[in-house]
Symmetry: C2
Subunit: 328 residues, 2 copies
Amino acid sequence: MKLSDLGEFGLIEKIRRATPQGTGVRLGIGDDAAWVECRKPTLLFTTDGLLEKIHFNLQWTSLKNLGWKSLAVNLSDIAAMGGEPAYFLLSLGIPVDFKVEDIDKFCLGLAEAASEYGVSLVGGNTTASERLMIHISVMGYAPHGAIKRSGGKIGDDLYATGTLGDSALGLKILKRKRKRMREIERFLASRHERPSPRVDIGKRLAKEGLATAMIDVSDGLIQDLTHLCRSSHVGAEIWSDAIPLSKAYRSFVGKRDPIYALNGGEDYELVFSVPQKRARRLDRLKRLFKTPVSRIGKFVEAKKGIRIINSKGETVTVPLSGYDHFKL
Amino acid sequence: MKLSDLGEFGLIEKIRRATPQGTGVRLGIGDDAAWVECRKPTLLFTTDGLLEKIHFNLQWTSLKNLGWKSLAVNLSDIAAMGGEPAYFLLSLGIPVDFKVEDIDKFCLGLAEAASEYGVSLVGGNTTASERLMIHISVMGYAPHGAIKRSGGKIGDDLYATGTLGDSALGLKILKRKRKRMREIERFLASRHERPSPRVDIGKRLAKEGLATAMIDVSDGLIQDLTHLCRSSHVGAEIWSDAIPLSKAYRSFVGKRDPIYALNGGEDYELVFSVPQKRARRLDRLKRLFKTPVSRIGKFVEAKKGIRIINSKGETVTVPLSGYDHFKL
């Protein structure tokens, strides 16, 4: 069945059924606006969109994973503030000849992410469009205050969650469109298609008052670190050997070359700064996390810029290739 | 100058400067998420998008008016709940060859609407896209509870704010692309391009506990009334002669034919039901509003459906043409 047979209101009903309503929702999908309870004195509010042919390509991305990822990238923004996501809106632009089964798959992935992170879909809107476009807005709480990009100080240590660069390699692998993948390839592809926003870690860092500045890695470590440095008026020194790389990454690249970890986007890991005097508290806390947290460098004076330093103490020159949507 | 020269971060800075930050904003544009104060126990949350060639055409729509309208259509959804808008996010997809002056014009219209209705732009995201696309999400308060679509009862009177059908005529006029317009044409075109969300009226109705059900007219009176009737499990009788038409409408159409008022969308007026026993309280309240409020019919039993009745008591058959984005 095609979307044109289902119609706009059939589509909305389908989405409503696929995504169960959570607590705090006084009025969900189906009115002019959602009406929800607000349980804390401050809120976080973010939006991100994924557009076909710009952010994803249906030739190598499954609809189910796209549903997951659309929500996950937004949850990652809440995680990067140390917040707790609560509600979200979905704005869908879909071609009229879209298959209803594909919409079902998309809803399934979306519902999996919503359930995993405890957020409720409360409204949105749908429209016909030439290409698939997904916009999500998330509202969350900042129960322990928000961790901004701007609080970093010279001398603070820099940390990263998880491993970096897997997503960029995963995209390379997916683009090959091979039917069979080795296990490491499947792992890397899944890191691209189903990122895990680090909500628990972000929230815990806020609760313990450990991080002075934080960002999630969506455009690539160097580019996102640049944002962090600019906001905090500092520079950064990154130790290339300390950058956390997965076994799959090392096996796929064949050596310990961190280039994909430095420039590859869409890892949705957190990068944050912690004053050295709090390092031991962070070490104790790290044991509670399922995801590893690695020290990758430190903040230095702004005039030193961002430098990548190898184990011999040499500064490594890295071609900057962070993403600007409008640069030709 | 083109957008490709300005770059993504130049664009974001431009938008930030054009839209001053209001109260309650702890952290606006420039971090992973906005951080705002929440001053009431419940919130409204809505999103709506305008896509080039689907919702607007730059051949006959000015960028400044588009900026206004993008926000206004969202504020209208908050108005339709009886709410008070507070903060919004802007998600922009822009072609890379877009002129920077046109972005300035868009920001100007957007800032005018934000200032008029006291809402703060707190974040968003930007991306390159083939055609211009604007998604806005608004967060507001429901200080007096929300007026749902579902609270209507048989016997409740139906009211509409302002005048209906002007926007559909305005679009007809704009499509002609004439350089010179008569005064009535300018009025109708402006009703299409710069709708006035009825936030004050909606909020007052909620405060006084007068309306049992409410919706804003975005898809056309009949279609939106159908939503209201379905949610409230009632039918409706509309008196065709009672439908409020502007002088410009009557002059342009040349007679009192309400067809554009019945089927034309994008008026962004409110339609709401009030129990007859509260009619006198509403009459007293109406005097306080700058915008007229007209009684246009009443809710009847669901099995009677929606009927349009003329002054002779005859049922008028109206070709239904409400909009479904996915019907071919």
